[in-house]
C-alpha cells in the first residue's frame, strides 16, 4: 500500500518531468522560424507614420518603453551621434523600428503573413493597442481602417506596396 502510494507519486513526478523536458526540447529543436512582412516597405513608407504618431519623446520615443520607436523628432539611435530634432531619421533608426515592431509578437506576425486574408491581423497586440481595443496609455491612435491603420495593417497583411504607400501618405497628410 505504502509502497504503491510512493510509486504513484514518483511516477507522476517522473511523468511531469519528462513532459516538461520534452516540451522544452521540442520547442528548441523545432527550429522556430519567424518572418516579418517586408522590411523595405516598412522602412520606406510605414516607419514615418509610426515615428510621428507613436514615437514622440513622451510616448514610444523613450528608453523606458518596451516598444521603442526611434526618429528625428524622438529618441535617436544609441549608436549614432545625433540629437533629437537634428537631420533626418536615419536608415539605422528605421531599421531598428522595423525589428522593434516585428518583435512585439514574432510568431503571431509570421502567421499573419501566411494568412493575409484572415482575421489574425486584427488580433495582434500592435493593432489592438493602436486601435485602443487593448489597454494602451496612449489611448486610441488609429480608427480601424482609417489611413494610418491601413498603412500599418496593410503592411502587416502584405498588401501591395502601392496601396500601403497611398495609405501612409494620406495618414501623414492628416496629422496636425
Amino acid at each position: 500500500m505504502n509502497a504503491q502510494g510512493v510509486f504513484g507519486i514518483s511516477s507522476f513526478a517522473a511523468f511531469v518531468a519528462v513532459a516538461a523536458l520534452t516540451g522544452c526540447k521540442q520547442e528548441l529543436s523545432s527550429g522556430l522560424e519567424v518572418t516579418c512582412p517586408s522590411r523595405q516597405v516598412y522602412v520606406q513608407h510605414v516607419s514615418e507614420v509610426m515615428e510621428r504618431r507613436c514615437g514622440t519623446l513622451d510616448c514610444h520615443g523613450s528608453d523606458f518603453r518596451p516598444l521603442r520607436i526611434l526618429g528625428r523628432d524622438g529618441l535617436r539611435h544609441q549608436g549614432e551621434r545625433k540629437r533629437t530634432g537634428e537631420g533626418v531619421t536615419t536608415d539605422a533608426e528605421k531599421s531598428a523600428n522595423y525589428y522593434a515592431v516585428c518583435a512585439v509578437e514574432p510568431e503571431k506576425v509570421s502567421k499573419v503573413g501566411s494568412d493575409p486574408g484572415g482575421n489574425a491581423v486584427n488580433t495582434l497586440l500592435l493593432v489592438r493597442k493602436g486601435r485602443g481595443q487593448e489597454g494602451h496609455k496612449g489611448g486610441k491612435v488609429f480608427d480601424p481602417w482609417d489611413d494610418a491603420d491601413r498603412c500599418v495593417v496593410g503592411w502587416l497583411r502584405g498588401d501591395t506596396e502601392q496601396s500601403i504607400e497611398k495609405a501612409c501618405k494620406a495618414a501623414l497628410a492628416k496629422l496636425p
Binding site: 510621428r52 507613436c54 514622440t56 519623446l57 513622451d58 510616448c59 523628432d73 540629437r83 533629437t84 537634428e86
Partner: protein
C-alpha cells in the same frame, strides 16, 4: 498596575493599526517615477513659489493631482532665448498657442521668467485637453506632436551634470541630446507683433484692476503697456489668433478669447 498596562497596550495596538493603514494608503498613491523626478529638481527659488518660479522644470510633475501643488495645471513650461555665448534667458511677453485634437485652441503668455501655463480651471468646463497637441510659440510651430506629456520640460530637458554623464553628445548649453529637444529657444528679435503679449495692465493707467485692459481689436496685446495678459492668458476659441488682449486676474488668470470681457 495591570489595568493601565492593558490600556496602554491596546492603545499601542490601535495606533499600530492606524500607522499600518496610513502606510497602506500612502503606498497605494505612491508613484516612484514621479517622486524621483520631483526630488531631483533643483531647490525652490529663493523668493519662494510664484508664477515665475522653477523656470525650465517640469511644472506639471508638481502641479498635478498626484503632487497637489496649486494651481492645478493642464500644461506649463518655459520659453528661452539664447545669447551669443550660449546662455539662456527667459523670454517675456510672447504667446504660446496650444491646439488640441478636439479643435480647441488655448493661448498663454510668457511671464518675466519665460514661464507660461494653462490651469485646469482655464479649460472652462472642458474636462481636459484632447491629446495629441500641436504647439506654436511666437509663430514657430513645433514639428513634433505632444502625445501625453503636460510639461514642456518632459521633452525639453535642460542640461545637467547627471545627463551629461549618461550622454556625452548632449549639448551643454541647451540640453539637446539623444532623448531631449533641449530648451525651447526662440529669437525674440523676430517675434511677429500678433505673437506678442504685454505685461500686466498698469493699474494707475487702466484702472481695470484684475480685469485686464481692453485690447485694441486683434492686437493681441501688441503694445507693451496697453493690453492685459501677463502670466497666463488662455483662449478657448477655435479661431485662435486675434483672441488677444484677454484679461488676467492677478497675473495668472484666464481670459476668454474674442473680446471678453
Amino acid at each position: 498596575m495591570r489595568a493601565p498596562t492593558r490600556i496602554a497596550s491596546s492603545v499601542a495596538r490601535v495606533a499600530g493599526f492606524l500607522v499600518a493603514l496610513a502606510a497602506l494608503l500612502v503606498a497605494c498613491r505612491y508613484d516612484p517615477v514621479i517622486d524621483q523626478k520631483v526630488r531631483k529638481n533643483p531647490p525652490e527659488d529663493p523668493g519662494g513659489p510664484s508664477p515665475e518660479h522653477r523656470a525650465g522644470q517640469a511644472c506639471v510633475d508638481c502641479h498635478s493631482t498626484y503632487e497637489g501643488a496649486e494651481p492645478a495645471l493642464a500644461i506649463g513650461g518655459t520659453v528661452y532665448s539664447q545669447t551669443a555665448k550660449g546662455y539662456l534667458n527667459g523670454v517675456e511677453g510672447v504667446f504660446v498657442t496650444i491646439q488640441d485634437s478636439a479643435g480647441a485652441t488655448y493661448k498663454a503668455c510668457t511671464n518675466k521668467a519665460g514661464n507660461f501655463y494653462i490651469t485646469k480651471a482655464d479649460l472652462q468646463g472642458i474636462d481636459d485637453l484632447a491629446f495629441p497637441l500641436v504647439v506654436n510659440v511666437a509663430g514657430v510651430k513645433m514639428a513634433s506632436l505632444i502625445g501625453r506629456e503636460r510639461s514642456c520640460a518632459g521633452c525639453h530637458k535642460l542640461a545637467s551634470i547627471e545627463r551629461i554623464d549618461i550622454d556625452p553628445y548632449l549639448d551643454p548649453a541647451t540640453g539637446r541630446a539623444r532623448d531631449s529637444a533641449g530648451a525651447i529657444i526662440i529669437d525674440p528679435e523676430f517675434v511677429p507683433s500678433l505673437e506678442r503679449c504685454g505685461p500686466p495692465p498698469d493699474p494707475t493707467t487702466s484702472g481695470a484692476g484684475g480685469q485686464g485692459g481692453a485690447a485694441p481689436a486683434g492686437a493681441g496685446g501688441a503694445t507693451p503697456t496697453g493690453a492685459g495678459g501677463a502670466g497666463s492668458v488662455a483662449s478657448s476659441s477655435t479661431t485662435g489668433a486675434g483672441g488677444g488682449g484677454g484679461s488676467t486676474s492677478s497675473g495668472g488668470g484666464m481670459g476668454a478669447g474674442g473680446g471678453t470681457p
